[in-house]
Symmetry: C2
Subunit: 746 residues, 2 copies
Amino acid sequence: MYLKKINTLFVMLSILATSLTIKAQEHPSLILTKTGVEKIRSNLGNAPLFDATLEKVKKVVDKEILAGIDTPIPKDFSGGYTHYRHKQNFIIAQKAGVLYQILEDEKYAIYVRDMLLQYEAMYKNLPIHPQERSYARGKLFWQCLNDSNWLVYMSQAYDTIYNFLSEEERTKLEDNLFRPFADYISLENPKFYNRVHNHSTWGNAAVGMIGLVMEDEELIQRALYGIEDDGLPIGGLDNDGGTIKVEGQKKGFFANLDDPFSPDGYYTEGPYYQRYAMYPFLIFALGMENVRPDLKVLQHKDNVLLKGVNALLNLSDAEGEFFPLNDGQKGMSYYTASLVTAVNIAYHYGNKNPQLLSISQKQNEVLLDESGLDVAIAIRDGKAKPFTKNSINLSDGINGKQGGVGILRYGNEDLTLVFKYAAQGLSHGHYDKLSYSLYEKGDEVLQDYGLSRFVNIGQKGGGNYLKENKTWAKTTIAHNTLSQNGEMHFNGQYQTASTKHSELYFFDASKADVQVVSATEVNAYPGTQMHRTMALIKDENFEKAFMLDIMKVKSSTKNDYDFPFYYMGQVINGNFKWDSPSHLVPLGENNGYQHLYLEGKGKPAANNAKFSWLGNGKFYTLTSVANEKDELLLTRLGANDPDFNLRRDAGFMIRRKDTDNTTFVSVIEPHGSYSPVSEASLNSNSHIKNLDIVNDDDDYTAVSITDVKGNKQLFILSNKNALASAKHSLLINNKEYQWTGPYYYK
Amino acid sequence: MYLKKINTLFVMLSILATSLTIKAQEHPSLILTKTGVEKIRSNLGNAPLFDATLEKVKKVVDKEILAGIDTPIPKDFSGGYTHYRHKQNFIIAQKAGVLYQILEDEKYAIYVRDMLLQYEAMYKNLPIHPQERSYARGKLFWQCLNDSNWLVYMSQAYDTIYNFLSEEERTKLEDNLFRPFADYISLENPKFYNRVHNHSTWGNAAVGMIGLVMEDEELIQRALYGIEDDGLPIGGLDNDGGTIKVEGQKKGFFANLDDPFSPDGYYTEGPYYQRYAMYPFLIFALGMENVRPDLKVLQHKDNVLLKGVNALLNLSDAEGEFFPLNDGQKGMSYYTASLVTAVNIAYHYGNKNPQLLSISQKQNEVLLDESGLDVAIAIRDGKAKPFTKNSINLSDGINGKQGGVGILRYGNEDLTLVFKYAAQGLSHGHYDKLSYSLYEKGDEVLQDYGLSRFVNIGQKGGGNYLKENKTWAKTTIAHNTLSQNGEMHFNGQYQTASTKHSELYFFDASKADVQVVSATEVNAYPGTQMHRTMALIKDENFEKAFMLDIMKVKSSTKNDYDFPFYYMGQVINGNFKWDSPSHLVPLGENNGYQHLYLEGKGKPAANNAKFSWLGNGKFYTLTSVANEKDELLLTRLGANDPDFNLRRDAGFMIRRKDTDNTTFVSVIEPHGSYSPVSEASLNSNSHIKNLDIVNDDDDYTAVSITDVKGNKQLFILSNKNALASAKHSLLINNKEYQWTGPYYYK
């Protein structure tokens, strides 16, 4: 209802707008604008980073022009030549168009024109792409997604040479190429186009952008609001197992902007996909801002797109690499091209945050448009400030009420905890409620495995998701969280998982030396409640900050719990003996266990299990409160992996059998360093003498940390009341502790 | 005989010298000299790198002075506190002495004096170190080696404050500390002192340096020529299995300089130990140059010490890390302190090679003596030039006739082959005749495993050699060379191995695009001859240079051959099918095989076995001529390794059973790249269509390389005559090839 009203209002407004602008639309107007180009031209030679980028782009494009245009008949998957060539074409055409505008050299316009005309000649009779794997096959590429990429870029290219083309050429291109192209990826593929999904975002943006250039109101409407009657049945699955049509789901660009973004700018699929979707989101919003500012797309949902840029930058480690939450390929970082776009637009259209400039400096390039010029001038003028990442809690869900991701940072990213208590994250989500990863600067201490895919490497399943993504990467046991009875959260059922989310208990980063995030999960294993509290603590008796982890489990039944730590590095030692099998056997048969070999098995030798490793020249020790019946397992990934798709990574696991209620309390303690150059081994031993649970009931869990010098610290968590104003008191060993708020630490 | 004559001559000369220098020796005179210090003082503030180093050193020393002197009763292994403290003491005392001389601030002299007096008080009654593991236990440390380190540094410290001390203090220190200390590590430990070994080098230098300061001719003699009658029996083993006394072996500093260094400056233990021994070699030689230049120690054996610095720098990868030949800990590099000494001395006392200055710039520090000042001034004056590493052949053995190490480099270290055809390398040698490692820039493509030891990490066997060093790291199967019948070269017998060496066939790096090294080994497996020829070839039809490897084997018996490739990275694919066992079982029971798991096993599907991997963002393909009966094995290190002392590294292995004569022909081809940021996968496929052996007899082996475009290249090796002037002709497929020299390539 509400939607329809908006829709009607919009149509009225747009008719009004159209009637007001009687004279023909200027070109370029989409990303580059006439005034923007003039400003750029007059500043050439005055903004070093802009000039350097221009020079670099010119070199690339000139080389391609020399090599000649090739628009081969499509046949390959990603990783193959025709895929690569068509992708390269749209990237270069967009750049060439920009060069034409800035440098006023017609050779660039001719190049774009000739390429577009070649596409026009080919597209008319082009069949659907011969590779049949995709649920929505494209024509130039094996999936509509890539065809949409093409149109997003080619719309820009077209806009830049619009005035260079004859009326006749434009008509030919629009009638035979652009309009049919837009119709194919939308009307003919509603299962691709009409979803809330990064695929559809690309599709919507593509249709909208060519609509803006062509002044085609129908396409613009279709972009913003989707196809009203798509005739699709409810349900249906895409290649990743995601649902195609959900009952009552809105569609179109606004829906894609509304639904997956939380009010904090967190994108529910996770940073890897946020980075991917960021480009169509921002570039179309920018096109709308330039051509149809009245619709306020860029400002939609309280500036959620600009907030999204900030969220995304905060979802990276000290080296700018995104945390590989859900399906994320490790190594992707804010150095990628779409983040250049994002950072430049966020600076120019946002509040000119000088910290963004330092990211641009690191990226060492800018957009060749007005926003990029703006950034380059500001950098030239010495306005850049370091981008400081602080602790941040990012809510998930359309209204920010479907859990979230809490990031605790100590010092200058000396220690970073990424705690995930989010919603499922659509089809790219993993079954990893209340899991976490830990970083020291840019190095992983405890890893999130990420995805199992070699993006664009043709030899590895065409560069697509590998079956190990489902059999390992998405599973619960692949993550640093609780597995129960060898099952996955929600039994690995996407339909169930996607309706549930964890709940924040509290997030408190107000004190630098004790930062806490706490959340609960009651749906992953029906009948079992998990309450995990994680803290970064810097204590004066410890060299570095450490992480305290309290996982309180209550269940109505007795279960076998597995509690893994995917440490990165080489074993130094443990305080318990382990048997080492001479033959390696998989740990289980399914749910990810079939991929783990058991490399060692032992029993705690004391009430604490200690385990140390060396990673990236730094020492780490896990200290965990142990029960005498616990099994301590050393695992190695790689079983049942005939194609070597998985890394041979290590794990340490606490197995606690036949238990209903229990609490796992652990400290991960970074300490010391080792240099192979000086061969100095500094501070290679844990500072912790003992870790004890001194109280654990429904109301309070209290943990005491005794260091090797005998100093004792106490952490008490109020399990039932997270109000900051609530007053608590607890008697431990005849001593009364009183405090206000959800936790006590001293 | 010869030795005795020299000895007699020397005594005469030294008496003459002594009688000429009637007036007392100046101090400092050992490393710093009176004139040197004056020059330094007058240049303070004028040589930035010197000033910066001085500032850094001052900071470190001032902090230690503030913390106070501690000389604890010795009890720990390396990795423990007392070890660390005494080591830190001598390092800081030496620096404090230098600061006293340069800054003329008495607090530094007082610090050194007080520390020495504390040692004097303790040493008188100090028993032998309580840790019993060493074959030659020290007093301050668990082995005489570390005690010798102490004396090498403390001699310098003593020299710098000599004039600050009273006559009485000097007498006390010399009588109760220095002289007994020198006697303990020499007269009382001839098994440590009287060898040709890096241990003895430290011992000799220690005794000699304190002798120079004390003007004690007896100690100087003992340093240079060892202990004449040590009373030791022939034989005996040290902790590493090295022989203590070899029949007819010379001893003392000159012997340690003569024997392990080849005329090219290659040190037979390998670069890791050369780096370690370099400090006592050079610092004592420098002391001799300053105090007794008449004995020309620094110039001994045609300047072999200065040549050694050049050899050592050339034994590093593009990032300055030393190739881990024999027992070498990976990561050790020319950034280590002893290389600062080495590079500064080599510059100052050598031919002022401006390329050495660029290494000093990278090290970002200099020695605080005249040589360091010289380097800093030259850098200030802009004299530094890039250190260019070219292909180099380094002979091994006292006369350069015991094999060697051939290093082929293409481009600016774009591809580096390290081919080892050397002697055994004393007790730190590995059983790896004709093995190699391959680097692309600073990244390992095919690795040499190095040692199995965590130097100075106490938790790992006290930081000492682990048993896996013997059971894995030293074994033949741990290296990229031929293993026969599951045995080690020389049956792993050090006594035999140390009397043998491989023979160079030829080394030709005269053409940049085709560089070849070839060597033979006939002793490792009696009855079997190996002739390995390795070439780096840059062909215009290939994107990057590749490595061609021809291993020709002839045997009087039928054998099972294993031919491994220890690739670094993740499997991309192969052109053959392999079975993947669900349970991992060790590949064998001994000789290193017990540490390898079999992860996959297949048969060649064609006459070439192809295997590709991705490492450090670059693709690599192995193409090897295969026999249909070959077994192709995928291995993983880590079996029978209960303490996780070994890395879980991968290997690919060709197994050829029941064969006498055979030739393994392989190409390792680096190609393309992958970026997780752009997600661009470039040139990910091998350029080679086929690799064929087109002739293989006693006279000639000919290999044809056909690329994917059909271009054919031919490499012919003359197996019997390596003369550069020899003329050859060979008929292949009715075509006659004629050439001059050991190989043909076109």
